[in-house]
């Protein structure tokens, strides 16, 4: 690593820290209905409400909120599914791509409804422009907005007292899209187009190379979709190669923008949280916990990646990386994308050194809370906060409370459920696939690396990340259905417990902090929170990781690679 590498790391982290609070405070205004910069869009908001017959003033309890969410997501899922299996007969299909098989369609529909964006297909070879734009691109917005709405419900549960109302789902979704996701996407899309990202409806270009070979160069409406895929922690690339593709991510500057936009909204939401609970410090400590987890993992991954070179006589470890980005930017991206539940990539994770690949996997396994998905990264984190507060509260001899709300049976029950189920899907899915022929036959590499491939796929699906380790042929009925199930569990087995907790918290009284209350806005708390997250993650996954990336790393030290 040279000084330019360090400079780039400091630059991206610095810009992130600089922008996040501003965006966060702006989003708080949006959700609280206060006056803000884009207030002139209010008429549009009103038109949407009157068109959809949404009564803005009608508050929902957690069950009504959940029902609206199910209807909304289920409708989206079915729509994307139908779009795919009929795309051949629909317009905007210049390449005349055939209908997508049902299992792949289902997998993709689930994938985009759950904000996972796991891709068992290669975009340019499988999906028509219509499917990409009307199906996937729209879902990119809607699934992101769903995550943000759930977070808003939880925040309302925390700040409201003795009520069963946790807000209005439709209002939260509308505001998320209209004032946050949409404007940011337009800005980013324009910036990306300026860097050379394609945006057109043309047929694929056929070129003849110098050797006289005909080459098909896919194009399409990419920039608009890439913008939201990055901002909404979706991650589903327009092209199969995702952001390693020169039309998705042509320049170092576009790379910088795309990396930044992975974390921008999740980081901003932490400040929104602080603002809305009327204690910026409470937001800052959560930001600190997430930031520390991110930077430590990034540091280790960089160390591991650069250290590989020493094993191979100083050669740069460039396999699977784009030369225009280099090692440092590939590792920053891999940590950002795995931490943030984004899932887009600009380098092949399978080709990373065993430890940095393993760290990306661990980031995902921790529950997608290292900033995590939009909304989901913070509500997932708050579940860990409940567990931490509970243990700490016991240790100081006081019934645990967070932000003045008692953490009791219901909160612990739901937090454990939400932490347990996605992890259970990782373990069960990966373990079965490691022994069932349907599972391990898809593995392209041997030894511990093959196990990592399976483990990564199930982690990515179950925690709604969506990135792939590569090296695993997952477009089979077995994987499409199994991973689809994992994505559903990973998304909704967290969302519904969170909403139920929001309902339970809203009904509680506020307890003023006293002498015996331990503060949740201190660095002691950040430390304990980090340890709780790491211990839960490590205890659950250490044996599997030991047989995958850890043993692969130790073998590499003896000169054996896979």
């Amino acid at each position: 690593m040279n000084k330019y590498d360090f400079l780039q790391i400091i630059l991206i982290l610095g810009v992130l820290i600089g922008l996040a609070p501003f965006l966060g405070f702006y989003m708080a205004k949006v959700y609280e209905g206060e006056k803000h910069v884009l207030f002139f869009l209010r008429p549009i908001e009103r038109i949407i409400y009157s068109f959809c017959r949404i009564d803005v003033k009608r508050e929902m309890n957690w069950k009504e909120y959940s029902k609206s969410l199910i209807v909304f997501n289920l409708f989206g899922l079915i729509f994307v599914f139908l779009l795919q299996i009929t795309q051949h007969t629909l317009p905007f299909n210049p390449e005349h791509l055939p209908n997508v098989p049902w299992d792949l369609s289902l997998n993709t529909a689930i994938s985009f409804a759950t904000n996972t964006n796991w891709q068992s297909y290669s975009g340019e070879a499988t999906l028509s422009y219509l499917t990409q734009m009307l199906g996937l691109c729209v879902q990119n917005f809607l699934s992101a907005a769903t995550g943000m709405a759930v977070l808003m419900a939880l925040i309302k549960g925390l700040i409201r007292r003795t009520t069963s109302d946790i807000g209005n789902f439709w209002v939260d979704v509308t505001r998320s899209i209209l004032y946050i996701l949409f404007p940011l996407s337009i800005i980013l899309a324009l910036a990306l187009v300026s860097q050379g990202v394609v945006q057109n409806f043309s047929s694929y270009v056929i070129a003849t190379t110098l050797e006289g070979v005909k080459q098909i160069i896919p194009t399409g409406p990419a920039a608009s979709q890439i913008a939201i895929k990055q901002l909404g922690t979706n991650g589903g690339g327009f092209f199969g190669a995702n952001s390693a593709h020169p039309f998705e991510n042509p320049t170092p500057f576009s790379n910088f923008l795309e990396m930044l936009s992975i974390l921008l909204i999740p980081a901003g939401l932490v400040f929104t949280f602080g603002k809305m609970v009327k204690s910026n410090r409470q937001g800052i400590v959560l930001f600190a916990a997430k930031f520390i987890l991110l930077v430590v993992a990034l540091g280790f991954a960089l160390w591991a990646e650069y250290n590989v070179s020493s094993q191979f006589e100083g050669a740069q470890w460039m396999e699977g990386k784009e030369t225009r980005f280099g090692i440092t930017n590939s590792i920053i991206w891999s940590n950002f994308t795995s931490g943030a539940s984004n899932g887009s990539i600009n380098a092949a994770h399978s080709s990373l050194s065993p430890l940095s690949g393993g760290l990306a996997m661990l980031n995902i396994m921790l529950g997608e809370i290292v900033f995590g998905g939009v909304g989901s990264g913070l509500y997932g984190m708050i579940l860990f906060v409940f567990i931490t507060v509970f243990i700490c509260g016991l240790m100081v001899g006081r019934t645990p409370e967070y932000l003045g709300k008692k953490i009791e049976k219901k909160e612990i029950q739901m937090a454990m459920l939400a932490i347990l189920l996605p992890n259970a899907m990782i373990l069960i899915g990966a373990s079965l696939s490691a022994v069932l022929p349907h599972g391990f036959q898809a593995v392209l590499n041997k030894g511990p690396h093959g196990l990592s491939e399976i483990l990564y796929a199930f982690s990515s699906a179950s925690q709604n990340n969506g990135s792939a380790f590569a090296g695993l042929g997952t477009n089979t009925t077995y994987y499409n259905l199994f991973l689809g199930l994992c994505m559903l569990v990973g998304r909704y087995a967290v969302i519904f417990p969170v909403l139920s907790v929001a309902g339970s918290l809203a009904q509680k009284k506020y307890m003023p902090p006293g002498f015996g209350t331990f503060a949740t806005d201190t660095y002691l708390f950040v430390t304990i929170l980090i340890f709780v997250i790491l211990i839960v993650g490590a205890l659950t996954h250490l044996p599997a990781l030991a047989l995958g990336p850890i043993v692969e790393h130790l073998l590499m030290l003896t000169g054996k690679t896979f």
């Binding site: 019934t399 049976k409 909160e411 069960i428 009284k509 003023p512 044996p543 599997a544 047989l547 043993v551």
Partner: protein, 689 residues
């Protein structure tokens, strides 16, 4: 000697009970230990039916059984201590005869056939047959059977000391008691029930912790079960046969090491022993919930009289009017109080006797006509005819009463005396004005005596973060003075039962948790409304029924101990949970390399994962067995801590958290590395592996 015999008896009984508790129906309530029991059963079956290595598998099975038994033992020994106390109480319940009073006639009947509202007579030496109220007379009562305190207490009709408890004994005098509770539901009955744990229910906090522990256990169960798949894959991929190493007993051993057996095993012992510690402090709580709620209390309301101050006011100073000699005032004051039998009156005589070495001549008594205190005049005194035949009308009374009395005689209280009286009120005292005929002689300062050491106790409460509020019927001026002297944070003056109730509701609506101590019938609504209501045992039956705790020592600052106990129960649970989970780190470092050290052998004898064997344990078998043995032994080693509780210090929540994290978190990570290594060395030396 006797105590150790006692302990030994409990000890042996607990060993027996540990086996009785293996009944799956009772194990099922504790998910972590239930999983351990299943593990032990499966391992035993495998060891005898299809073992690859009988000696090794049997050793694992034995230690798994020990883990379950140790957990049962901790619960049994906690229960045993309570049972011993219950047995002691039962002795007080021996069948007594009651002297039933009906239509003025006494009949002897069996105490068990007494009904509510029956009247019974108790005289010197009689056992009080049931809970009741004294409706007539005054007596000293030995309540050592329930309080353990040998000093007798006074019980009298009317007022706040009218409640008597069945099973206690009258030491002197005669009282008539109205029975207030049916047999089988008396105070002692309920105490026995509580102590025996028959009615013990899990507290909300305990339930939440159980959910956390169960959740963790399920995750870890999945981790271990799925490890079989990962291990089979790796076995295939590396061409190394693991089937002799990764056996079912070994996987079960790994599972039991990982799930939080330490806290799971000690969880119920912590709760039971917490209640038991309270009983030793002479507090009977009606539910564990109330005890844990006590740990969260942040406002304490106390009744002034009898709790903050001694029940009676004492004369402490005399102040003369202008042109009156102090000796003269003293003598007249003594005369005025000569027939006053109230504690205040007696305290005036005592003060003057001690300070002025005066006594009343015998002659005085013959010539004095006492005028007792009446509610109407609010004065008392004597009419005294001296040797010259002159009548002296000597009076003493409250300031307002004397003012009116003097006014009717056409006089006024001198300004200096008025100022003095106001000053006394301001200091929290009561001024008694002494007059002879129409001449005001001076003021007696009756002082409310704040109990010894009460300030320190309140300071301690403040350190725990508890605000103290004094409730009194006094006027605001007096109340403020006493509040300042006692060191309470706030006071409510001129309080009525409604006002008390209102204040509690108001604080509760602000989210505070309120404790209230009281003894009078008029405290009962407030005691019932408070989150923690501690009734004094000397109080009325109504008060004792209303609260959710009874303090047998009738010590209002007992709340400090109650709060401490509540906090200790939570802290012990938290500390052991942290310790239990922190232990897993070392266990992974013992077991993972033991299982997989042979994978992906290149040219060497040991595979890459052997590097994780940082403890340098002897062999895979010794590593696994050491972890299991450590896991079982740690339960036994922590039983004393579970029974005693983690110590609470009022040093603030963050400092306390740091402290406990260092001890139980960091300690929990480090300790097993040494423990497992030592056990490994021992097992190797003893050739057990």
């Amino acid at each position: 000697m006797k105590a150790s015999m006692f302990e030994r008896k409990i000890f042996f009984k607990a060993i027996g009970d540990s086996f009785i508790k293996l009944d799956p129906r009772s194990q099922f309530k504790n998910p972590v230990i239930f999983i351990t029991l299943l593990g032990a059963v499966i391992t035993t079956i495998i060891a005898f039916k299809s073992s690859e290595d009988l000696i090794f598998d049997i050793q694992i099975a034995i230690w798994l059984w020990f883990t379950v038994l140790f957990a049962n033992f901790s619960e049994a020994i906690a229960e045993g201590r309570g049972k011993a106390q219950a047995d002691f109480l039962k002795k007080a319940k021996t069948n007594t005869m009651a002297r039933l009073l009906k239509d003025g006639k006494e009949t002897k009947i069996n105490a068990s056939s007494l009904k509510k509202n029956d009247l019974v007579v108790c005289e010197t030496g009689d056992m009080i047959p049931g809970d009741g109220e004294v409706v007539e007379g005054i007596a000293t009562v030995d309540e050592s059977a329930i309080t353990g305190e040998s000093a007798p207490v006074v019980r009298e009709s009317g007022g706040d000391r009218s409640a008597v408890t069945g099973g206690t004994r009258v030491l002197s005098d005669r009282i008539v008691i109205q029975i207030t509770s049916e047999q089988g539901n008396t105070f002692i009955d309920r105490m026995i029930h509580l102590i025996e744990g028959a009615k013990r229910q899990k507290t909300p906090n305990e339930i939440a912790l159980n959910i956390l522990l169960s959740g963790l256990s399920i995750i870890l169960l999945l981790t271990v079960v799925t490890l079989k798949g990962f291990s089979d894959y790796s076995s295939q991929a590396s061409g190394e046969d693991l089937s002799k190493i990764v056996t079912v007993p070994v996987l079960i051993a790994l599972l039991i090491c990982l799930i939080p057996t330490t806290i799971g095993g000690l969880l119920s012992a912590i709760g039971i022993s917490g209640m038991d510690r309270l009983i030793r402090k002479n507090v009977i709580a009606t539910s564990g919930r109330a005890v844990e709620a006590a740990g969260d209390i942040d406002v304490l309301l106390l009744d002034k009289t009898g709790t903050i101050t001694l029940g009676n006011r004492m004369a402490s100073e005399l102040y003369t009017a202008p042109d009156v000699m102090i000796d003269y005032l003293a003598q007249v004051a003594m005369m005025a109080s000569s027939s006053d039998e109230t504690p205040e009156g007696r305290s005036i005589i005592t003060l003057i006797k001690n300070r002025f070495e005066m006594s009343l001549p015998d002659l005085f008594r013959q010539r004095a006509k006492p005028l007792p205190f009446t509610a109407k005049t609010k004065m008392s005194g004597v009419d005294f005819t001296d040797l010259n035949g002159v009548l002296h009308r000597i009076r003493k009374g409250a300031f307002e009463a004397i003012q009116q009395y003097i006014h009717e005689l056409g006089e006024k209280i001198p300004q200096q005396v008025q100022d003095q009286a106001a000053q006394i009120s301001k200091m929290g005292g009561t001024p008694l004005v002494v007059v002879e005929d129409e001449r005001v002689l001076g003021v007696i300062y009756l002082k409310d005596v704040v109990k010894d050491g009460i300030q320190e106790r309140f300071a301690e409460l403040r350190k725990m973060g508890i605000k103290t509020v004094m409730i009194t019927g006094d006027n605001p001026l007096t109340a403020a003075a006493i509040a300042a002297e006692a060191g309470v944070d706030d006071f409510i003056s001129e309080a009525t039962p409604e006002l008390k109730l209102m204040r509690i509701r108001e604080e509760q609506s602000k989210g505070h948790l309120i404790a209230m101590t009281g003894d009078g019938t008029n405290d009962a609504p407030a005691l019932a409304q408070a989150d923690v209501g501690v009734a004094m045992n000397t109080g009325t039956q109504a008060a004792r029924e209303a609260g959710n705790m009874v303090d047998l020592d009738s010590n209002p600052t007992k709340l400090i101990e109650i709060v401490e106990t509540g906090k200790q129960i939570l802290m012990t649970r938290g500390a052991l949970t942290t310790f239990s989970i922190a232990n897993d780190v070392a266990k992974y470092f013992a077991i993972i390399p033991a299982l997989f050290a042979t994978l992906y052998l290149a040219n060497a004898n040991v595979g890459p994962l052997a590097k994780l064997n940082v403890m340098n344990l002897h062999s895979p078998q010794s590593a696994i067995l050491s972890a299991v043995v450590f896991n079982a032994l740690i339960i036994i080693m922590l039983i004393p801590l579970a029974l005693k509780g983690v110590r609470y210090r009022p040093i603030g929540a963050n400092a306390l958290l740091w402290r406990n994290l260092l001890i139980y978190g960091l300690g929990g990570v480090v300790a097993p590395f040494f423990g497992i290594k030592l056990i490994d060395m021992f097992l190797v030396a003893a050739r057990l592996v």
